[in-house]
C-alpha cells in the first residue's frame, strides 16, 4: 500500500511504530497533489510550505504533524481564506479559527485550503469564483458541495482528512458524492469562531475522512466549548473513539417513511434499505417511522432562514476594510455597490436578494418568523422521534453525483439537499458514510441522524455499518 492510501489512524500508528516518517508522509501527499490536482482542482492554495517551521513542535502532538486540508471558509492566520469568492480573493486573516487552533495544538499541519461553492452557497462547488472541482470517481462530474474541495481531496487521496462546513448538507452531500465519510455535528458542538459565516444559526464545522474512526478521531480534537463562541456548548471531554463498536444488538433504528416516499433514485433507495436490513440482521431493532410530516417544509424554511442570515452576514464585504474594492473613484455608496457587484457571483447575489427581501419591513412576519416557527416544529418532531429511536437512517442525497454544468435551474440544485437540510434545521448531528455504488460506478451515501448531542450514537452505528457493508472491498477504479 502507498502512504497516501492509509487512513489517518493508520498513519498515526505507522509513525508510532517508526514504519514511516512524517517527512515521507508530507512528501508523498505533495507528490499526489502535484500529480492529481491539475485534474481534480480540489485545492485553492497549498499552505504546508509555510507550516514547515513548526514541524518539530507539531510532531509532539496527538496528530504527530499529519497534514489536514481545510475548507477555504475556515480562517487560517496568515494564509488566504477566500471562501472561493473574488471579494475575498486576497484576504489574509490575522487569526486562526478555533478549530484550526485546536488542530495545530494537537499537532496537525495545515496542508492547504480547499475549493468550495462561493461562501458555501451551493451543492456542486461550481459556484466557486475560481474553478470547478471534479469528482475523483468520474472526471466531469460534480464532487457535490459546498465542501466539494475537501471531499474530493480526501477521496482522491490528496489529503488524509479534511474539515468542511455544513449549513444544509455541505459536508454530507459532497461526502456522499465522493464516497467518503462526512459528519455534521450537533449545532454548538464545534466552535464556529473563525468559520466565515453563511447562515449563523445553521453552520457547523465537521470532519471529512476516509473512514468513521478518523471522523471520531478528529471530533475528539475539534469539538468542545469555546468561550469565543456563545452558541457553543460544554459537554465535557468525550472520547468518540471509545464508542466505535460493531455490536448493534438492541440499537433502535428508524426508517422515516416520509423520506423514503419522496421521489428519488431507485438504486439509492434499494441500497439504503438493504443496508438497514443488514443492521436488522445483526440484531438492531429496525422499524418504519411515520408522521415526520414537518420535514417536508424543511427545505422551504431553510431557503428563508439561510438567505436571511446570509444577507446580513455578507453585508460586511463592502470594500472599506479588506478584500476587493472597486477602484472606480466615486462616492461611498457607488463604491459599496460596485464592489459587491464585481465581487459576488450570481448564486451569492441571488441569496442576498432573497434574504434581504424576506427580512424587509412588512415581509418579516410572513417569511422569516414563519420559517422560524417551522424550525421549532421540525426540531420538536425529531425530539419526539428520538424518544423511541437511537438513530434514523435515510439516503444522504436523492441522486448520485451529477455532471458538471448539468444543473441549470437553481431550484433543482436546491433539491439536492432534501435529505440533509432537516438535520440543520433541527440542529441535530448526522453522518454520511459510503454505502455502495450505482451502476455508473458513482458512490452512494447513507445518512445516519441522531438526537442532539448524539454524536456517539451515530458514530457507533456508522462504524458498525461500515464494517458490515465493506464498501471499499469491491469498489470501482477512480479516474485519478
Amino acid at each position: 500500500m502507498e502512504i497516501f492510501e492509509y487512513s489517518l489512524k493508520e498513519l498515526l500508528d505507522k509513525i508510532s511504530n517508526k514504519e514511516i516518517t512524517l517527512e515521507e508522509i508530507i512528501n508523498n501527499y505533495l507528490n499526489e497533489i502535484n500529480k492529481k490536482d491539475g485534474k481534480i482542482k480540489a485545492f485553492n492554495s497549498i499552505s504546508i510550505e509555510k507550516e514547515k517551521d513548526f514541524i518539530s513542535e507539531r510532531e509532539k502532538g496527538v496528530l504527530k504533524g499529519i497534514p489536514i486540508a481545510i475548507k477555504d471558509n475556515i480562517s487560517t492566520s496568515g494564509f488566504k481564506t477566500t471562501c472561493s469568492s473574488k471579494i475575498l480573493e486576497n484576504y489574509l486573516p490575522p487569526y486562526d479559527a478555533t478549530v484550526v487552533k485546536k488542530l495545530k495544538e494537537n499537532g496537525a499541519l495545515i496542508l492547504g485550503k480547499t475549493n468550495m461553492d462561493e461562501f458555501a452557497m451551493g451543492s456542486s462547488t461550481e459556484n466557486s469564483a475560481f474553478k470547478s472541482t471534479n469528482n475523483p470517481w468520474k472526471l466531469g462530474y460534480a464532487p457535490g458541495g459546498s465542501s466539494g474541495g475537501s471531499a474530493a481531496a480526501v477521496a482522491a487521496m490528496e489529503a488524509p482528512a479534511a474539515l468542511g462546513s455544513d449549513t444544509g448538507g455541505s459536508i454530507r452531500q459532497p461526502a456522499a458524492f465522493c464516497g467518503v465519510v462526512g459528519l455534521k455535528p450537533t449545532y454548538g458542538m464545534v466552535s464556529r469562531y473563525g468559520l466565515v459565516a453563511f447562515a449563523s444559526s445553521l453552520d457547523q464545522i465537521g470532519p471529512i475522512t476516509r473512514d468513521v474512526r478518523d471522523a471520531a478521531l478528529l471530533m475528539n480534537i475539534i469539538s468542545g466549548h469555546d468561550p469565543l463562541d456563545s452558541t457553543s456548548v460544554d459537554k465535557g471531554d468525550i472520547n468518540y473513539e471509545s464508542y466505535l463498536k460493531e455490536d448493534v444488538k438492541g440499537l433502535k433504528v428508524g426508517i422515516p417513511a416520509e423520506y423514503f416516499n419522496l421521489d428519488f433514485n431507485a438504486e439509492i433507495k434499494e441500497n439504503i434499505l438493504s443496508a438497514a436490513k443488514k443492521l436488522e440482521d445483526a440484531g438492531a431493532e429496525v422499524s418504519e417511522v411515520k408522521n415526520m410530516t414537518d420535514a417536508e417544509y424543511a427545505l422551504a424554511a431553510y431557503y428563508i432562514i439561510a438567505p436571511a442570515e446570509a444577507s446580513s452576514n455578507l453585508a460586511r464585504y463592502d470594500g472599506v476594510r479588506y478584500g476587493l474594492r472597486s477602484e472606480e473613484k466615486n462616492d461611498i455608496e457607488t463604491m459599496f455597490i460596485n464592489t459587491r457587484h464585481q465581487g459576488f457571483g450570481p448564486e451569492v447575489k441571488r441569496r442576498i436578494m432573497l434574504g434581504t427581501y424576506v427580512l424587509s419591513s412588512g415581509y418579516y412576519d410572513d417569511f422569516y418568523l414563519k420559517a422560524q416557527k417551522i424550525k421549532t416544529l421540525i426540531k420538536d418532531d425529531f425530539d419526539r422521534v428520538f424518544k423511541d429511536y437511537d438513530i434514523l437512517i435515510t439516503p444522504t442525497t436523492p441522486t448520485t453525483a451529477f455532471k458538471l454544468g448539468e444543473m441549470k435551474d437553481p431550484l433543482e440544485m436546491y433539491h439536492a439537499d432534501i435529505f440533509t437540510v432537516p438535520v440543520n434545521i433541527a440542529g441535530i448531528p448526522a453522518i454520511s458514510i459510503p454505502s455502495g455504488f450505482d451502476t455508473k460506478g458513482l458512490p452512494i451515501g447513507l445518512q445516519i441522524m441522531g438526537p442532539h448531542f448524539g454524536e456517539a450514537k451515530i458514530l457507533h452505528a456508522a462504524y458498525a455499518l461500515e464494517k458490515m457493508l465493506e464498501v471499499n472491498k469491491n469498489r470501482p477504479e477512480m479516474e485519478v
Binding site: Y95, A97, Y193, V196, V320
Partner: protein, 479 residues
Amino acid sequence: MTEKYEVVIGLEVHVQLKTKSKIFCGCSTEFGAEPNTHVCPVCLGLPGTLPVLNKKAVDYAIMAGLALNCKINSYNKFDRKNYFYPDLPKAYQISQYDLPVGEDGFIEIDLEDGEKKIGITRIHLEEDAGKLIHEGNIDRSTGSLVDYNRTGVPLAEIVSEPDMRSPEEAYSYLNQLKKIMEYIEVSDCNMEEGSLRCDANVSIRPMGEEKLGVKTELKNMNSFKAVEKGLVYEIERQKKLLDEGEKVIQETRTWDEELNKTVSMRSKEEAHDYRYFPEPDLVPLEIDKKWENKIKDTLPELPRDRKLRFINEYKIPEYDAGILTDSSELANFFEDTVQEYNDPKNISNWIMGEFLRLINEENMLIKDSKISGKLLGSMLKLTNEGVISSKIAKTVFKEMFNTGKDPKTIVEEKGLKQISDEGKLDEIVEKIISDNPEAVEDIKNGKNKAIGFLVGQVMKETRGKANPQMVNELINEKV
C-alpha cells in the same frame, strides 16, 4: 396671547457605559487613544468572528434601567440592525429590538411650576459604531478615514415618551438624566467626548388637539445648549409652515451649529429599512430576579431623593440642596464636611461660594480639587474656636484646595493664627487710635461708620489676623 400650538418632544439619548472593555470583545474603551489601536478581529467584524457579551455592560444597563424606574425584562435578546456605513464594520449593529433590558420607566424633573414626570419608553443595550474623519468639510471632502476605536463600546439607548412640551423641559430632562447616570456611575455623560448623544423627535399640534402632528427627527446636536437651540429653531420652523398653510414633512433633519438652523438630511421615503432580526450569534439573555436584586442592592441614592433628604435632614434651603446634589461628588463633599463639623448652612455657603468659585476660576473638575470634607470641617472648627478669622479662613481654604494640606499645618506654616491676645491687640488699637484722630472725632460725633474704618486699619496692620470681635470691643471701650 395664548399659544396656538402645543409642542411635543421625545428624546432618544445614547449614553456610553463606562465598562473597561467593549461590549462584545476584550478591547479597551479608553477615550483618546491613537486611531485604530483599540481594535481586534471581533470589533473590526473580520470574517468568522463572533461576539461574546460583556456581563458588566448588562449590569450597568440594569442599573440604569432601575434608576429610571423601568421594569427589567427577564427575557432579553439581541437583534441585528442592518445598514451600510463605513463606520459600521459588520454592516449591522448589534442592538435590542423588541425585548430591551428595561421598559416603562420615568424621570421626575423640576420645573418652575413644580415637578413633572417624563415617561421612559425603554432602555436597551447596543454597540457603538466607529468614527469617520473627513479630510476637510464633509461636502467637499476628498477622502475620509475611519477610526474603529469606538466600535463596540457599549451604549445604553434611553428612549423617552413624547412627554416634553418645550425645549426647556427637554433641557431639564437631559440634565436630570445626565445627573442620574453620573450618580449611579455607569456613564461619564460627556457630550464633548461623545459619551452622551441626543436625538430629538419634535412635532407641534393645535392646542387641545389629541392627535400628534407630523414629527421631524433632529440629529447632530452636540451639547445640551445645541439641543435646546435646535428644538427652538425647529419648533419655529414648524409653526411657520403651519401658519402659512403648509405641511410638516416627516424627515430627519440635522442641526447645523454654524448656520444656526436645521437642515433636511433624508425624507421618510429615504429612511432605512433596518431589517431587524434576532442575532443568531448570541444566545438569549436571561436576567433573573436574583441578578436584578443584586444590582438593586448596589443602587445609590438618586439625585432627587438626596436633594429632598438634604432639605429635611440638614434644614438647608431648597436652592442650596439643588446645587449641592447637582453631582454626587459635590453632595458627598458636603456630607463628609457635615460629619466633621455639624453646621450645614455654613458648609453649604462655603461649598456654593468659595469652592465652586475656585472650581470655575480654575476650570477644573470637582474630583481634581485636593480639598476634602475632613479638611474643610477642621478648618471650620478652627474658625469657630477663634484660631483663625473668617477672612483668614478664605486664604486657608484656597491653600487646602490647591495642596490638600491640613488647615492647622497651613495656619502654623504661614503664621495665620488670629491675634486674640488682649495685651497685644490693645497695643495695636492704641496705635491706630492715635494715628487717626479724625476718625476718633467722627465716632464721638456719632458717625459709627468710622468704627469700621478703625477696625479695618487694625486688620490691615495685623494682616487680617486680629480677632475682629475683640478689636471692635477695644475700640468701643477706648473711644
